[in-house]
């Protein structure tokens, strides 16, 4: 393969030198028509079968905004209830459901999906890609979230909504204190919506690292792409902790596995550890993409490159790491030893440094340029004011003695809204006003935008500033009313007036959207702000006319004629060399073009797979097990239909423009499929490490009864047998890899042997424990022992399904030594399962013996 030099500008394609201008025009016209035909979206109601980012991105951001409005209405109900003392508008139980749903919907159905939506929508255009590498995964993620989210929200109308707070602490949420199915809706609904967030994260990580325009090195990558990369990586490591927690609490509620029941050797605090190990990074998962949007908008509005670009990257990475060392600051009042608390307190203060670096860099950028005070800039200024105040109160509650006073009061409510609304909602509104001309036929109205900003800014501060005082005066969170003699009514009434003013601002924004927003995949208002990044190039349904060679952080500012050259097809991929949807895959650091990735077109399988996945989880909640199982099987069936067309027939090198020839097929470590599989392994590994933490944590709580109440251990020979089977499974897969080159039948046998060995190892392990009389309902210890096997079962079940696909592909001639991506996926997951299984055996059999 021919690799071009690091400077990837592409101004004089050879084709232009040997053909006449008339021929060129004809060819370009034909190319444009061909691209338009290939990327044409489905029309009418069939639009829901679309998979490309622009259309799914619009759906995604629209759905997120819908949930923002719904959760906002819940907030208004709460504020109305609290406007006067001893109010009877809402019953205590309804109020509990409403505040639980407000927090849950805002965090899980609005904030994370909204920033993920902005990523799906903007990243391809910003990176110069035709689409992200896994469009069907993006569509699946959206539909799973949207359908699941609607059903979840609908529970509110049937008095079935959860009522234990958005963080669902047991024992309040155990069957003893929450006997209804509201908590189950939360656990199953949110659990699988998180899986959809992980699917989106995989798409974003691989997209940012592998589909950037040639020449867009890491040093030239737009700040929003940096933040989305860090955002998605944080999801990979943070979300598995809460997925494990939801699995454990649901197992406890449904089958009596007592992970969180103290009298059976469990511990309710374990939930808090797992939840906040996700929950605190979650705050930064929401904030970092918003910070990325701010960095993009500030540079354009100040008409100057971002000051301290490099230091902002440093700050983003540091925030991503530090945010994983803060979770215990939500648990300062739980009796953890004071030195541990202080480590987390120190880390909580330390994270202010990178946030401060960003704030000062933005201020310096504004100071070094000439700020255009349009609506996006107003929202950015509002963000700076509100977020900085929230950050300062954050440092206050990071101090343990202060937190002991302020914990569970309205001070914390004020702080978290200053951080989240300031840090995410204001930047998002800025972003919508800023990017609307790149996505819509007409920009949004400046007049309505200013009104919206003024009402929102004023309303927000009137609503939440008094809550600091209310908190300091002792008003607790989550109370449905208060007596008049507490003296809280005036400030509560002021806060309610502020909330309605804020809502009026959102209503004005809504009017603006209805009047002016006309989303389009091909006709845009244009670069009204004179921005410098690629998403402002003329857009088409297929992305850029030709993918530009990038030589600057702000290519539209520094590369004269780039737009015209791209529009006339003088850059990369001006046509569709394989006749289908394609984008260029580049190397992760320098963005050197490596190969041409063929992408799938519209199809129903992602939508149907998502609908049946949602049905599976929601029907399990209402205990329609048979129908749920049928839906689960249908979901798997549609996923299999979709994967069948993956890994197309290899073709040789093709011309991707600019005189570069690249292969149109790639397997092995350079392929996006390999990268996605590695990320899935990281997710599974994070989940398993959360399990290992849970095991060791419960041991530290009850070390003297480990194994609990003298439960007999399985003979060590069982463990050695299972370990031998696991190693054999790995060996068989290695041998299958070799056999694939020359003996397909042998390869098929070895794949079967490998999967069978994994199943047998699991069977040996579970039967060993059953034979000793150990039952998961008996104790926290026993439940953890069986949980190790349950987690292994998840991985092994996936491997068995993929092994069947591999066998079917081998039989149909769709898998060979050259065409091997499906096999590589299976092999990687098998090696992972072997590693996880061995670690599980070491923990379950080795640890009790080691401490004994």
């Amino acid at each position: 393969m021919q690799l071009p030099p690091i400077s990837l500008g592409c101004n004089s394609p050879m084709t232009d030198m040997v053909t006449s201008p008339a021929d060129d025009d004809t060819r370009r016209d034909a190319e444009r028509k061909q691209l338009g035909r290939i990327w044409a979206p489905p029309s009418g109601w069939r639009i829901i079968s679309a998979v490309n980012n622009t259309i799914v991105g619009y759906f995604y951001i629209g759905a997120a905004f819908l949930f923002f409005l719904l959760a906002g209405i819940l907030a208004l109900l709460m504020r109305t209830q609290l406007a006067v003392p001893s109010n009877t508008l809402l019953s205590p139980d309804t109020y509990n459901q409403i505040f639980t749903m407000h927090g849950t919907v805002m965090m899980f159905l609005f904030a994370v999906p909204a920033v993920e939506a902005m990523g799906i929508l903007l990243l391809p255009q910003m990176l110069g890609a035709r689409d992200l590498p896994f469009p069907r995964l993006g569509a699946f993620a959206f539909w799973a979230y949207f359908i699941g989210g609607l059903v979840f929200f609908g529970t509110l109308f049937f008095e079935l909504a959860p009522s234990g707070g958005w963080f669902m602490y047991p024992p309040l949420t155990s069957t003893r204190f929450s006997p209804g199915i509201g908590a189950d809706f939360w656990l199953l609904g949110i659990g699988f919506i998180e899986i959809s967030a992980i699917a989106g994260a995989i798409e974003i990580i691989v997209g940012v690292l592998r589909t950037r325009a040639p020449g867009m090195t890491l040093g030239r990558m737009p700040m929003f792409a940096w933040t989305m990369l860090i955002f998605a990586t944080m999801i990979v490591f943070a979300f598995p902790a809460v997925i494990l927690a939801t699995i454990m609490l649901e197992l406890e509620r449904a089958f009596g596995w007592p992970f969180f029941i103290a009298e059976k050797g469990g511990d309710a605090l374990l939930w808090q550890h797992l939840f906040w190990f996700f929950g605190h990074p979650e705050v930064y998962i929401i904030f970092l993409p918003a910070a990325g949007m701010v960095s993009m908008i500030v540079a354009t509005m100040a008409r100057t490159p971002l000051v301290a670009h490099n230091l902002i990257v440093v700050a983003l990475i540091a925030t991503g790491f530090f945010s994983f060392g803060l979770w215990v600051h939500h648990m300062f009042t739980t009796g953890i030893p004071v030195m541990s608390l202080s480590f987390f307190s120190a880390a909580s203060m330390a994270v202010a440094i990178p946030s401060g670096i960003q704030v000062f860099a933005w201020i310096a950028t504004i100071a070094s340029g000439r700020l255009q005070l349009a609506t996006p800039a107003l929202f950015i200024l509002g963000f700076l004011f509100i977020f900085t105040l929230g950050g300062l109160t954050g440092v206050m509650v990071a101090m343990v003695p202060f937190d002991w006073q302020a914990h569970d009061t309205y001070f914390v409510v004020a702080h978290l809204h200053y951080v989240l609304v300031g840090g995410m909602v204001f930047p998002l509104f800025a972003a919508i006003y800023y990017w609307a001309p790149a996505l819509s036929r007409t920009p949004l109205s400046e007049t309505l935008g200013r009104w919206s900003f003024c009402l929102m800014f004023l309303g927000f501060n009137v609503a939440f500033l008094p809550m600091h005082l209310l908190g300091l005066w002792g008003m607790p969170r989550r109370v449905y009313t208060y007596p008049a003699e507490m003296g809280w009514q005036t400030l509560n009434l002021v806060a309610t007036a502020g909330a309605f003013t804020l809502a009026a601002g959102v209503a004005v924004f809504l009017v603006d959207l209805i009047r002016n927003l006309r989303p389009s995949v091909s006709e845009h208002a244009g670069n009204v702000w004179s921005a410098g990044t690629l998403e402002w190039m003329p857009g088409h349904v297929f992305g850029p006319r030709s993918i530009p060679g990038v030589e600057s952080r702000y290519p539209l500012w520094h590369q004269a004629n780039l737009q015209q050259e791209s529009e006339t097809g003088r850059h990369y991929l001006p046509s569709a060399p394989t006749g289908g949807r394609e984008t260029i895959v580049t190397s992760p650091i320098e963005a050197l073009p490596q190969y041409l990735l063929r992408l799938p077109g519209p199809g129903w399988s992602p939508f149907l797979a998502a609908a049946f996945t949602a049905a599976f989880f929601m029907l399990l909640t209402v205990k329609w097990v048979t129908v749920a199982t049928a839906c689960g099987l249908l979901a798997i069936a549609f996923i299999l239909i979709w994967t069948w067309s993956n890994d197309p027939e290899p073709v040789g090198e093709v011309d991707i423009g600019c005189g570069v020839a690249a292969p149109a097929y790639m397997s092995g470590p350079a392929s996006p499929a390999w990268w996605a599989t590695v990320i899935v392994m990281l997710v599974a590994g994070s989940l398993y490490l959360s399990f290992v933490f849970s095991y060791l944590y419960l041991w530290t709580v009850a070390p003297k009864s480990w194994p609990a109440a003298g439960a007999p251990l399985v003979p060590i020979a069982n463990a050695w047998g299972a370990a031998a089977l696991l190693v054999a499974a790995g060996g068989a897969m290695l041998a299958a890899n070799t056999a694939l080159a020359f003996n397909r039948a042998g390869c098929a046998v070895l794949v079967c042997a490998s999967a069978a060995a994994l199943v047998l190892a699991l069977g040996l392990e579970v039967s060993g424990h059953l034979a000793t009389g150990l039952r998961p309902e008996a104790s926290g210890y026993a439940a953890l022992v069986y949980l190790a096997s349950a987690l292994q079962l998840e991985v092994v079940a996936a491997i068995v399904v993929i092994a069947l696909v591999v066998l079917a592909r081998l039989a149909c001639g769709r898998l060979s030594h050259a065409r091997r991506v499906t096999f590589e996926t299976l092999a990687l997951l098998t090696y992972y399962a072997v590693g996880q299984g061995l670690l599980g055996l070491l923990l379950v059999h080795g640890f009790p013996r080691g401490i004994g």
Binding site: L3, I317, P337, S340, S342, F343, W699, T700
Partner: protein, 117 residues
């Protein structure tokens, strides 16, 4: 001139600073949790273990800084296109500050005093 694509491993190596910070932080937390929960270490030894871990972490970050400076050069003097990992040196310095900062409780606080109201 043919360019050699750099690998993701080099990218991950450039994150050495915060990786060492994370290892140090979780080590301190786990050591303290074990020391104070009964089954593990004698409580006073945590101070010495923590101090040793801090010295090791600082030494590792210092070494990483030397390597990063040697391989990345000074960011501002390098062409923008080549600034792949110019974030590494300041990131390591920030991590060193965070390591020192999160270690301060070792010097000033009793080890296993209950932390409740």
């Amino acid at each position: 001139m043919k360019a050699r694509p750099r690998s993701m491993l080099e990218f991950i190596m450039a994150l050495n600073g915060p990786i060492v910070w994370a290892a140090h932080f979780f080590f301190l937390y786990l050591a303290d949790a074990l020391a104070c929960s009964g089954p593990g270490l004698a409580s006073e030894t945590i101070r010495w273990i923590g101090a040793t871990a801090t010295v090791v972490a600082l030494a590792l970050t210092f070494l990483s800084l030397r390597i990063a400076r040697a391989t990345c050069g000074r960011g501002s003097r390098t062409a923008e296109a080549e600034q792949h990992f110019s974030f590494a040196p300041p990131l390591i310095v920030l991590s060193m500050v965070a390591i020192l900062w999160t270690s301060i409780p070792l010097l000033v606080l009793p080890t296993c005093a209950p932390g409740s109201v």
